[in-house]
Amino acid sequence: MPDLGALLGGLVSFIGEQVAASSLRLGPVATVTLLGVVLVLLSLVARPSTRWTVRDIGRLASVGRAMALAAESGTVAALSLGTAGVARATTALGRIETLAAMPILGIVARAAARSGVPLRVTTNDPVAAAMADMLLADAHRRTETPERRDRSTAEYVGEGRATAAATALASGGSPAANFVAGGLGEESLLLLHGASRGAAWTSFGTAAPSQASSVLLTGEGTMIGPELFQATSDHGVRAERTGVLAANRLIGAAVAVIVIGSVLAWVAGVDVTAALVGG
């Protein structure tokens, strides 16, 4: 039977063998850059500071008014989580966009629960539908309105981007307040047009730069590019505020690297790109 010392020695030698058999895939500079994101975020968790707020991104500050409109007209509020999804997303950005839409759903769901407005959440991804269902339940729990829980639904409309767009176009009834937040593709104009039809209040958002024009043309409140992630940071969601602070500092660092790298490349002929990404 091995004693504790032999066990520890074996563990240490195993770790040493694994370290000896390992190498950095990206090179030291790129690895440090990648880990820098995590370190910046950790430092902000320890010491967050304030930032300036200049406008209401996505009109989320007036979501209470949207719910009041819906309550007065006796209609529902609707929210689409885009067409990328979590399990069905083909790109990491699409997946992250859907995850970024969840805090927005949380804000809208709590406002709907307080106002007694049924909220209909639609998505073309079953995992996102399950997450939305949990958020709806949590919203009613936090606002102490469990008796209204059954009136709000999270619906899986079927697989495919075209399915979600066709469902939005064909859906009967006009929600007084309509939200779309998440990943969008070429079908965005169809989905957003269907969502905005007959709605008295709209807020649309996506991080995909190519679909920014569709959002701008069809939505009254808009969240484009990074704004999809920033929109909830002004609404008492502390984690999003930390994320915005981290993003601001990292954008500043990226601008500094671009400017300094450009000057170095122009004056001294240094290839900063090769040092950062290898090759």
């Binding site: 992250i96 992630f229 954008i251």
Partner: protein, 205 residues
């Protein structure tokens, strides 16, 4: 206690995949590959669960006579047609002629006709955008008008000048805006992913 289990799973799996991305190690690569295979299985299970949820909801709507009963009936018929075509005894699965016909003769033309309406909806959206009269939409439509003028198929010196201006517009202002958007999106995406990975307050909500 209930909420810490998913958070722990997220941190462990996320750190494993992140370390595997940074460090080349056969043991790590094997563990990461096993996790990714499990993710594929989970995604397939989620898709199956989604199909069951669809049948449950629309079947319930049909039985209770609520909502769009015709739409629910058509959806359930379509949902049954493809598995029957692909799973009947002697079927060749996805390569079966019946499945290929359903996809090629029904599904593909339906999707194509949907996307063919994009231009019409673009014109409608421009009209609605002008009705909203926001500064962003006005600037965007003015820029679209300028780009249309720059891309006019004219010949001679005027055409050459317009083409040069169009190339400059694509490379400098339009390209710059897109690069800025992409940089911003990339940064916040990395921060958001790091926040989920580190389970920063409320990230498991």
């Amino acid at each position: 206690m209930r909420r810490s289990v998913p958070a722990t799973v997220v941190v462990v799996v996320g750190l494993l995949l992140l370390v595997n991305y940074i460090v080349i190690n056969p043991l790590l690569a094997g563990a990461a590959e096993a996790v990714l295979r499990l993710v594929v299985v989970l995604a397939a299970g989620a898709a199956l669960a989604g199909g069951v949820a669809l049948v449950h909801r629309h079947g319930g709507d049909l039985l209770r006579g609520r909502g769009d009963r015709l739409g629910s009936a058509v959806l359930l018929a379509g949902l049954a047609a493809v598995p029957i075509a692909g799973l009947y005894p002697g079927s060749q699965g996805v390569a079966d002629p019946a499945v290929r016909w359903l996809v090629g003769a029904l599904l593909a033309p339906l999707i194509a006709s949907l996307f063919a309406m994009l231009f019409v909806f673009l014109l409608l959206a421009m009209r609605e955008g002008m009705a909203i009269r926001s500064r962003q939409v006005t600037v965007m439509l003015l820029a679209a008008g300028v780009v249309i003028v720059l891309l006019l198929p004219l010949g001679g010196q005027i055409g050459a000048s317009l083409a040069t201006a169009a190339d400059w517009a694509m490379a400098v202002p339009i390209g710059g805006v897109f690069r800025g958007l992409l940089i911003g999106v990339a940064v916040v995406t990395a921060v958001h992913a790091a926040r989920v990975l580190l389970v920063v307050e409320g990230a498991d909500d």
